[in-house]
């Protein structure tokens, strides 16, 4: 894969990169940092990508690793400038489904995001998240269950 191909892939995947980073980090600035760093690392490592068909999965994996790195730094930083619920009050433009997704526990939200929003197959998600197929299936099921109950309870209000 050439650098130009990678550049095109990244630009074509912008929406996806945004949604995935937002599902883990939520804070806009952190998402920008994670995606910026993922772009740099993907160009750095382009020659280790041996099959172009894996490129997007590979890119998402790099992005998720970056998101987790920032997540860890922020989560345990001494200052209290970061919470996962932050900015939600300013996100009136976000869809109801997005708000519902944000209520999911992290371990369910990311597989649900990748499967239902981004359209990845289960075996691809196992590669991206380095979890077993059984774990992904069960996390999808539980995530679905939580999401349904949350949306039902919202509708009832």
């Amino acid at each position: 894969m050439t650098k130009e191909d990678l550049g095109n892939l990244i630009i074509a995947s912008t929406d996806s990169l945004y949604r995935i980073s937002k599902s883990i980090l939520r804070n806009e600035t952190d998402c920008e940092d994670a995606v910026s760093e993922a772009i740099v690392k993907s160009f750095d490592k382009i020659n280790t990508l041996q099959h172009a068909s894996y490129a997007k999965t590979w890119l998402v994996r790099i992005l998720i690793n970056e998101c987790y790195r920032i997540y860890r730094q922020k989560q345990f930083a001494p200052s209290n400038d970061f919470t996962f619920k932050e900015n939600l009050s300013n996100e009136a433009d976000y869809s109801e489904l997005y708000h519902a997704m944000m209520q999911l526990d992290d371990k369910y939200r990311i597989p649900v995001e990748l499967y239902y929003i981004e359209g990845y197959k289960i075996h691809e998600i196992t590669d991206i998240l380095n979890r077993s197929e059984g774990t992904i299936k069960s996390q999808l099921a539980r995530g679905r269950q939580q999401l349904r109950k949350y949306l039902e309870s919202e509708a009832a209000q």
Binding site: E4, G7, I10, I11, T14, D15, S16, L17, Y18, R19, K22, I24, E28, E32, D33, V35, S36, E37, I39, V40, K41, F43, D44, K45, N47, T48, Q50, H51, Y54, T57, W58, R61, I62, N65, Y68, R69, I70, R72, Q73, F76, A77, P78, N80, D93, Y94, S95, L97, Y98, Q103, D105, K107, I117, E118, N130, R142, Q145, Q146, K149, Y150, S153
Partner: protein, 400 residues
Amino acid sequence: MNNNDYLKTPEHFKMLVESKVNEQLNAPNSDKKKTTTSIQAKKEKSGYHFKKIAAAAAVIAIITTTSVFAAKHFRLSDYFESSTETYNESYMETIDNRDISVKNGFPEQMKQFEQNTNKVFDEPLFTLTEAYYDGNYLYIYAKATDAGQEYDAITSRIFINGTQYIGDFGRLLGQTETNGFNQDEYVGTFALDGLESDNFTIEMPLSIYLASEETSVTETSAVVENDSADNTVTPALIRQGQQTVSFKVTAADRVLSYTDQQVTVNSDVTADISDLKRTELGIRLNLTWHLDASAAERYLYDFEYTDEENDNLSGYAKPDYQVTDDKGTNYGNDQIHINQIQATSEDVDPVLVIRNEDGSADCISKIFISDMPEDAKQLTLQLKHNGQAIDEMTVEILLK
């Protein structure tokens, strides 16, 4: 609803991505890693570590059973100083190379990621000479051997008793100008949380590449590692092989250990405090609540995550602890780490609940409380759930 209705990407974000891509497409190779975000991220991480270290005044890494308090200048000090943060050099130790073992290939847990190469790496590619363990984070320093000059050995994980811990290890490429490091120097940083003992043996699985400016210190993903060889790959970036380096960290003799305690919490609840250890970083302990059948019926809910079966869908309520000491200090959330999970974003239950056949239950937490005054003689731990302290679940712990 299409995906854009779900979450619309802001225009400024699109512009950022385009600009980053263009920057990378136009950047000369040697400048690739000198991005603002990269450097900033590194500094943020380091800053936090150093603040912890400064606040901690002394948990130490004693590396190996024959560690030496060497009066030498540590390269890790230079690494720390580059962040302009405070640290304490007296906590650094020299690694004795006699206690380091090297073998070809990955450890058992990573065999699936091993690539068949014709090269055997059973000789050290670097000399591991320094370490700093602050009770949470392990820093190591190494320098390439003559034989290792042509290679870059990298990893993003280590194993201790089969458990994986995340971090970074690799040559300090891209940081040489600002920190005064040479390209044959390695630094590793790993978050080690939830260790049962401060004496442990580390297994470090290394992916070995030919040394190159192109090689970043971050390990590539398993997805890539599993890919088979391809003629289009630049030779310098093909993995040459794998190696596992093992070494010991022994910090237990710098840790003050207390005897186990059993506390009667109320008529049908007791608590065992074990593995109670104090360093200048803080207090570490294992707390096991024993609830008899009737107590389990009344209180078990408070020890568990509230999940969908309890119809609490506005977020998982999880158990928590409120901690004060006899000096009147009330410890904040940033000082209380339960089942420390800093190395992973995976959710870990703060209390492990074991239900017994007779209806009783055992509820177990590993707790670390940082920045504790030296003269504190007693701790009061109170279980909290949904932000509410539960008065009946109060444990007094003696630090004498």
